[in-house]
Point group: C2
Chain length 325, copies 2
């Protein structure tokens, strides 16, 4: 309940910004005493919000810290299920670990784990993911789709489409999808998606969509070896992006794509993915566990595998690092 009042107080301050809103109006809107309002204002200040209090004028918001806390996300969010339950922590080893744990404990579909910093952020195949504090979006979404294990690769493709649309909506930057799970801006990595799941043949118990997005990382902060291949939205835009709004936009787009998939199946998503991809129709090199495959990326099959036309005919690839030749 305290959380709710603070959320509503913050919403009110944001709504009036840069104007003052009177203490009287706040206490009327929130249905609480002037003393309680003051207590919540103090709490917000402790979290980094700068709020001016002026006698006879009331309160006004001067500065919102760039936090991805539940109340910041909730303020921007218009979804039915995605992100309606949030577990937020300043620092985690990895949001994936927390999400698995929560899912096992029975988290509902759409539950979200989000953190300001990951000390052991992970990418695909156990690779590490650079997740410095307050500079990116590090989050994990819990899904419970009524699909088979053999259809699970649809979810990675669906997720890359949803995240792409969310980033484009907020930044206007052109995002390309690199099969199977990376998003690129101008050829450099901006986002990785990690789909993990637990299930049996007939039933998926849960899926965790892990997303790492480089939002406000300044170029100088990148580890040397990443500068050539990775970038951040702020570098490409020339200015910072509000992370909580970005999260809200991504959750909205994801929910829409996901609902569409559950209702109408994979075919439309596949077609849209192929259009959005930076590789379909192009000469590519796919490094697979079985060796290197060179050819033209033709299309996806119904399972989400990438079909490559090589000198020796069509080859389907389920797992690879793909790059343009």
């Amino acid at each position: 309940m305290g959380q709710n009042i603070r959320d509503r107080l913050l919403s009110l301050l944001i709504q009036y910004q840069p104007q003052f809103v009177s203490g009287e109006e706040i206490s009327r809107e929130l249905g609480c005493s002037r003393a309680a309002v003051w207590k919540h204002i103090e709490e917000l200040r402790q979290e980094g919000y700068e709020i001016e209090a002026r006698p006879r004028s009331g309160y006004r918001l001067l500065y919102r810290p760039d936090r991805v806390a539940p109340e910041e996300i909730a303020y921007h969010l218009h979804t039915k299920k995605f992100g309606r339950e949030i577990r937020y922590q300043e620092v985690v080893a990895s949001t994936q670990i927390l999400a698995h744990q929560w899912a096992r404990e029975g988290a509902v579909e759409g539950s979200l784990v989000v953190a300001e910093e990951q000390t052991e952020g992970r990418g695909r195949l156990g690779r590490s993911w650079y997740s410095p504090p307050r500079s990116g979006v590090w989050m994990s979404l819990i899904l419970r789709p009524p699909i088979l294990l053999t259809e699970a690769s649809h979810l990675t493709l669906l997720a890359s489409l949803g995240v792409k649309q969310g980033i484009e909506r907020v930044t206007g930057l052109p995002i390309q999808i690199k099969w199977p799970n990376d998003l690129l801006v101008h050829g450099k990595k901006i986002c990785g998606i990690l789909t993990e799941l637990r299930g049996e043949q007939d039933q998926i118990h849960y899926v965790i969509l892990g997303m790492g997005i480089n939002v406000n990382t300044p170029e100088k902060n990148w580890p040397e070896e990443l500068r050539a291949i990775a970038t951040s939205l702020a570098i490409e835009l020339g200015g910072p992006v509000h992370r909580a709004s970005l999260i809200a936009a991504i959750l909205e787009e994801l929910e829409e794509v996901y609902d569409h998939y559950l209702q109408s199946g994979f075919s439309k998503i596949k077609a849209k993915w192929e259009q959005s991809s930076g590789i379909i129709g192009k000469q590519i090199v796919a490094r697979t566990p079985q060796g290197v495959i060179t050819g033209i990326a033709e299309h996806l099959n119904d399972q989400g595998a990438l079909i490559i036309r090589t000198d020796r005919g069509l080859v389907s690839v389920h797992s690879a690092d793909v790059s343009l030749k």
Copy 2:
């Protein structure tokens, strides 16, 4: 180390049974004092072993309790990896739960969880599995196959083949496989196999093969509703089966089938499965989440789906309850 000495002591006693083995020989073989031998004898007695001690003759084993403890399994086991690490408990909620936990903590391939009793034994799709104390084999095997998520259904089929061969070797009973995960004797259920896994698109983190086998359950102990559809090996054989030997035989057959699969792929296993199945070539009814399909079970496809010839052509089924028509 204490565990090892006790295992070796038990092996020695079993080897000499029904003869005596002298305390002097035991202490020489085990490289420990006569007092230490006595201590281990006492431990075994506390676990239900009856051991006679006679001055000047030594010790002899009179009775081995029917336990599925690691030392009992180890005595019969000739595998490279399967069952070489065992976690054993008298009572568990479900061996699957423990196995998932152990796998997350890094259990090596072939690690086995086994219990005398399950209070919340589970079957496919969250159904319950009747697992009364000391009357069955309730175990979960941890695997780490280098395969894709889309190939995971191979493992259920492979497991049903391995378990069938293990049971047949020990009992001589004719076992039929019912797609996808049940074993039958004379048309009644003797074993269920539950394949659960955690992974991502490119990589399986681990698979848990859960097996529930009705070994020595007397008919009168079955819940009423199960008597018509389930049976135990003891009922069919007319006498009890030594559970630890059965576990060892199953692990050996499983390991062989699994190694063969990793080296040579799914095709031979598929062919063998089709031969062993009670349904291929027969008129069946498959109850799927999407509705009831009637037709002739033709074969398995490369993914392990069941292909059924219906009035409207071939249909592939990934998930169903199948019965003969």
